[in-house]
């Protein structure tokens, strides 16, 4: 049963263009079975955010995204009041007693501050922010809390309460409990350490840079129009670059950007296009120091010379083994 579920999920994700390995599929499956948030860590550009969008497409669920940053607080993630409309309503209540029956009992508004308070703190003046939206959404919903490590520790504490109880309390209105629990995915680039309390409440998965075969699959899925041989060359070069001491190693997103750039320049073979490589290198390497490192150390020239000696094959070696690794249907069914 679980194998069938994983296979089905894999197929759906592939349809959206996301190639997930078996471990990630299991993590996504457990997230649904155990109703626990999933914390994804990994280098930038390996597909942490992408899995949330793809999963939302695959499960036909609504995606609600919360981008974290320093200084994020409850008013920006939970709820806030529409102050402008509240002020207008108050002025209207004071100015006239007519045509306001939809707000409150206008006869006593001018004097009864309690009634005014009740009128302006009603649901019609409530602005639901991402966490609240996810809790109050009817139907399948995926809440992506992106780059949680960029938010403050105080925000983590707030998040703990919401994730644990799946409910939001608005003092003026009461408690809202989720009718259908949202699937929560948190991503982190390890800018700072997350608290143990948050980590303990989450399932965990580390997304590493893909290996050559998987990266070729991703390229094939995302850019099917690109020539297979060119894609293989680029993947090979990117894999080599990741072994260098760069300050920002290129992720899959950079590989795709670079490939798209070279494709747009009508490059067919990297070995014949050293100029185009150096012109488009900023699509792959995002810091000047990295570009200088690669150029100064004649890395590209060395790689081009090496690759000229080797004939790149379009199908990777050991294909059957790779299929075993990534295709769950051929996975060993050895019992524990």
């Amino acid at each position: 049963m679980s194998q069938q579920r994983l296979d089905e999920l894999d197929t759906r994700l592939r349809d959206t263009g996301y190639i997930a390995d078996r471990a990630l599929l299991v993590a996504l499956d457990l997230m649904q079975i155990l109703s626990k948030p999933l914390l994804l860590e990994g280098e930038a550009g390996v597909g942490k955010t992408g899995i949330a969008t793809s999963l939302a497409d695959a499960l036909d669920a609504k995606l609600i995204r919360l981008q974290c940053y320093e200084g994020l607080d409850a008013q920006q993630v939970l709820y806030d009041w529409d102050y402008q409309r509240q002020l207008l309503a108050i002025q209207m209540m004071r100015g006239t007693n007519s045509n306001l029956t939809d707000i409150a009992d206008t006869t006593s508004l001018a004097t009864d501050t309690g009634a005014m308070h009740q009128a302006i703190y009603s649901e019609q003046f409530l602005l639901k922010r991402p966490l609240f939206q996810a809790i109050s959404h009817n139907g399948p919903c995926i809440l992506l809390i992106d780059e949680i490590d960029r938010a403050d520790e105080e925000f983590e504490a707030l998040l703990l309460e919401v994730l644990a109880e799946n409910q939001v309390t608005v003092p003026e209105l009461g408690t809202y409990t989720a009718t259908s629990k949202p699937l929560v995915i948190l991503t982190s680039n390890a800018v700072r350490s997350l608290s143990d309390a948050l980590r303990r409440r989450c399932l965990y998965h580390y997304i590493d840079f893909p290996d050559t075969y998987k990266e070729r699959q991703i390229v094939r899925a995302r850019l099917p129009q690109v020539d297979e041989a060119l894609a293989a060359q680029i993947v090979s070069l990117v894999q080599r670059l990741r072994q260098e001491a760069l300050s920002k190693k290129p992720g899959v997103a950079e590989t795709l950007d670079w490939l798209a750039a070279l494709y747009a320049l009508d490059v067919k073979d990297l070995r014949n296009s050293p100029e185009q490589i150096s012109h488009t290198l900023p699509a792959l390497l995002k810091t000047r120091s990295d570009q200088q490192t690669v150029e100064n150390e004649r890395f590209l020239q060395t790689w081009l010379n090496e690759s000229a000696e080797q004939v790149e094959t379009s199908t990777p070696p050991g294909n059957s083994e790779r299929d075993d690794k990534y295709d769950g249907r051929s996975e060993s069914s050895e019992s524990v």
């Binding site: 700072r192 350490s193 965990y204 590493d208 001491a245 050895e334």
Partner: protein, 379 residues
């Protein structure tokens, strides 16, 4: 049916034993995990070892450290003697995620103590006595377990420093931006008129740090911990820049770029392969001032130099460089772990000439003094 129940019972016992093994090795195992395991035990994840491994890994791991260690622990518990390694993660040609010295130890930092190469021993056990460890000079910690505990405490300390300052806003009686929430909440009190206003004000801007780390031979015992502390500090305060020096200055990056300990070690190793001769502090600081000072330094920057001051040039040449640095920043802190090497009243020929140009001079040779130093950072 009876067989299935027996299997579930036996598996439940085995899972609990495995949980105990994980806990003994520093991976959290608590009641919540037991509930998750029970759910897993009743699911069909038990039918396939690879999926079972992935499921346990997802449930039990909470950090990259756990993620890296888990497979070995899983194999040691579930794998039969002589059975081939079933770890699929290691069969791929992509580099496995690496983490500091605990796992990846092929490169020894030049000028660093031998902890990098020694730390391949996988001795994962519990925490030690905090008080005793906090007073122990880092020079006299030879036990891997104690060193790991100290490293964890250093992590906590750096993280705690972040809590001392925040970019969150607070409500005040004066300011530029009106706090609508607070102001409006008191409007009904005045019959709907906006009489009293509250404002939002940011707290003081977060300080930026420049961390200059001496990785020479004389500092080797302390350099790794200082590097780790600097790394965590840079992660907490993103307006920070890291540099290392011995005979030359190396830029290790900025806190904004998500630095990793492994990456820094690799950078230091790569750059230091051409180093010859003794420590050149004055040269390194001049290099920093000339090439990075204008870009990085401002009146909000705190410079922290981790060094014993042992320079190949006379200290009189170092003093004017330090003086110039001090004039360009908010505060210059010099951390010298060998501060207590001279008796009271005895002169330190290396440091005495530059002391007038330093705002704070401290030791940080053990956890307690490191803690005191971390508090001084933000004063």
């Amino acid at each position: 049916m009876k067989d299935a129940q027996q299997l579930c019972g036996a598996m439940s016992t085995r899972l609990q034993e495995f949980g105990t093994l994980l806990r003994d090795n520093g991976i959290c195992h608590d009641a919540a995990h037991l509930i998750d395991l029970h759910t897993l035990a009743t699911s069909d994840y038990l039918q396939n070892r690879q999926s079972f491994r992935y499921a346990l890994k997802t449930c039990y791991c909470h950090s990259l450290q756990d993620w890296i260690r888990f497979d070995d622990l899983f194999n040691s518990f579930w794998q039969s003697p002589g059975e081939a390694d079933i770890n699929a993660d290691k069969s791929g040609d992509s580099a496995a995620p690496s983490l500091s010295s605990k796992v990846e130890s092929d490169g020894r930092l030049v000028g660093f103590a031998g902890t990098s190469s020694q730390s391949t021993e996988q001795d994962f056990t519990g925490a030690g006595d905090y008080k005793a460890l906090s007073l122990a000079d880092f020079r006299f910690v030879f036990n891997l377990q104690e060193m790991q505990t100290i490293e964890r405490l250093v992590d906590d300390l750096a993280r705690h420093s972040r809590k001392l300052k925040s970019r969150r806003r607070r409500t005040t009686r004066r300011g530029a931006q009106i706090d609508m929430r607070r102001s409006l909440s008191i409007v009904p009190r005045y019959g709907g008129s906006v009489v009293e206003l509250h404002y939002l004000q940011r707290r003081k801007r977060l300080p930026g740090f420049v961390l200059l780390l001496d990785v020479s031979q004389s500092m080797e015992v302390y350099a790794r911990l200082f590097l780790r502390f600097s790394l965590k500090l840079a992660a907490a305060f993103q307006q920070s820049d890291l540099f290392a020096f011995n005979t030359q200055l190396i830029s290790l990056g900025s806190g904004r770029h998500g630095l990793s300990e492994t990456g820094l070690e690799a950078t230091i190793n790569a750059e230091s392969s051409t180093w010859l001769g003794g420590t050149r502090i004055a040269h390194a600081l001049t290099d920093f001032q000339d090439n990075h000072g204008a870009r990085i330094l401002n009146k909000n920057t705190t410079i922290v130099v981790f060094s014993d001051g042992c320079d190949t040039v006379p200290p009189q040449e170092l003093a004017p460089v330090v003086k110039q640095l001090q004039s360009n920043c908010r505060k210059l802190i010099w951390v010298n772990p060998l501060l207590g090497r001279f008796k009271k009243g005895e002169s330190d020929r290396y440091m005495d000439p530059i002391l007038p140009h330093i705002d704070r001079y401290c030791s940080a040779h053990n956890l307690q003094s490191l803690k005191e130093f971390s508090h001084q950072l933000l004063i």
